[in-house]
Symmetry: C2
Subunit: 271 residues, 2 copies
């Protein structure tokens, strides 16, 4: 890859740009961001070479790294572009639908490398090393484009897996979106309950770490993946309700069983 357009110069997009620069010397990156300050910060940090209003058509590939609900309109605005287009959105159904409809060589992608940091200031070229990147090709996906995107991610150290978009959205609702929602509710509830400044141990700190994430991207994710998330919230309520009921009636055996099930479930997810 020689010329790349990056649409969305934030933490993930900026990290990918820095990582690709290391791997492809001479790579020219044109940055696009609706927020002029973000593009300027990316240029100042050397993440991008120049700033444009829209991706020019002379690039080999476009990486779309804007909040998820802005991805479909960006993909539609690229209609007719012949190069490879990929995105890094953490929900995939909407992006894949729009990309397949508008573009000849679209590949949906999601690097599972989010942190509680945000902004190009926190961009890190090593962010993807050892992390999983899920690509969501469809029957329509151009095979050469898929190979191209797979190679890009492999070059920056990621482990690439493929999955269909609906299965992806169900899985991330469970392992990422629900944990975020629960962490926000937990931090808020503790804040409502009183002033416990300085009293938290590792439990509160770990459990709510992802609640430090700024709202910009999460509002989009919660709205975009609402049906999957709401289904999981019902399952969560059932589990919490079972624990609460067992506590209310003093049923230690039932509490122990629910804890054992939780530990087994966690161990299974972590493999």
């Amino acid at each position: 890859v020689k010329r790349l357009a990056l649409v969305g110069c934030g933490h993930i997009g900026g990290s990918l740009a820095l990582a690709l620069r290391r791997e492809f010397p001479g790579l020219v990156i044109v940055g696009v961001d609706p927020a002029a300050a973000a593009a300027a910060a990316a240029k100042a940090r050397g993440v991008i070479d120049s700033i444009a209003e829209a991706p020019s058509r002379d690039v080999d590939a476009v990486v779309v790294a804007v909040p998820v609900r802005s991805i479909p309109p960006v993909l539609e605005s690229l209609a007719g572009f012949e190069g490879v287009v990929t995105d890094v959105g953490s929900t995939k159904a909407g992006a894949v639908r729009a990309g397949d409809a508008a573009l000849a060589r679209f590949v949906g992608g999601h690097p599972m490398a989010g942190t509680e940091r945000a902004g190009v200031e926190a961009a890190d070229p090593a962010l993807f090393v050892g992390k999983r990147v899920i690509l969501t090709p469809t029957e329509r996906t151009d095979r050469a484009a898929l190979v191209f995107v797979r190679d890009l991610w492999a070059r920056v150290g990621a482990r690439v897996v493929e999955m269909d978009a609906a299965a992806h959205d169900r899985a991330v609702a469970a392992v990422s979106h629900l944990p975020h929602l629960v962490a926000y509710a937990l931090a808020g509830a503790v804040g409502d309950a009183g002033d416990f400044a300085g009293l938290a141990g590792g439990g509160f700190t770990d459990t709510t770490r992802i609640a430090a994430t700024p709202p910009s991207m999460w509002v989009d994710v919660f709205l975009e993946n609402a049906p999957e998330i709401l289904a999981l919230v019902r399952g969560f309520d059932a589990r919490l309700g079972a624990l609460r009921a067992a506590i209310e009636r003093g049923d230690g055996e039932r509490i122990a069983r629910l804890i054992d099930e939780a530990r087994a479930a966690r161990a299974a997810v972590l493999g």
Copy 2:
């Protein structure tokens, strides 16, 4: 301190014993544990010097490190003992009530140093370095005993603070017990939702880390501190319900506000 009895030879008791040995050369520690295997493991690891059926009366102090609902009966069994008695239970109202009634020199304590590990095998003499230990003296508490216990914890590197037992139990319900309950419900719900082996990123891993804790101590904590915990679960439900309602009606502004409140609350607790 020259002779000490340790009742409960698990992770916390064992860690304290190892730490005190470093600070008080020649200290003799007599171990008591209802589980013979735990006492034997503690002796094999050099955590205790000998095993007894019950604390002998010739020790200077007794440290009670059994699950919280077993603390009051242990304190009652020590009635008449003239030395200092302290405990490490993570709820304090019941222990303080029993200790004040049965003993002349009882001081309630809670080292906030729990990890997801358990058992004397994981005992670590550095466990308390820089950690907070909350002591819960009452009007009845012997001042010399309080100074003695405060000094013990300071010697093993802990930062000692004092608080009344009811305020302690409210605070730990918020910063420790509710996060544990939520982590168990979350891990269980994700397990119920499907097979996501190997797909979890940092979000699920961090948020559910404390769900790896074995049930033995947590059944007791949830039952012992039930009223405070149940009140917090209601507050948590209100927060989660507000997020869910905002997602259901597609209200991005409300979601953003709830996220901002959560972030501010977290920052306030962490100081």
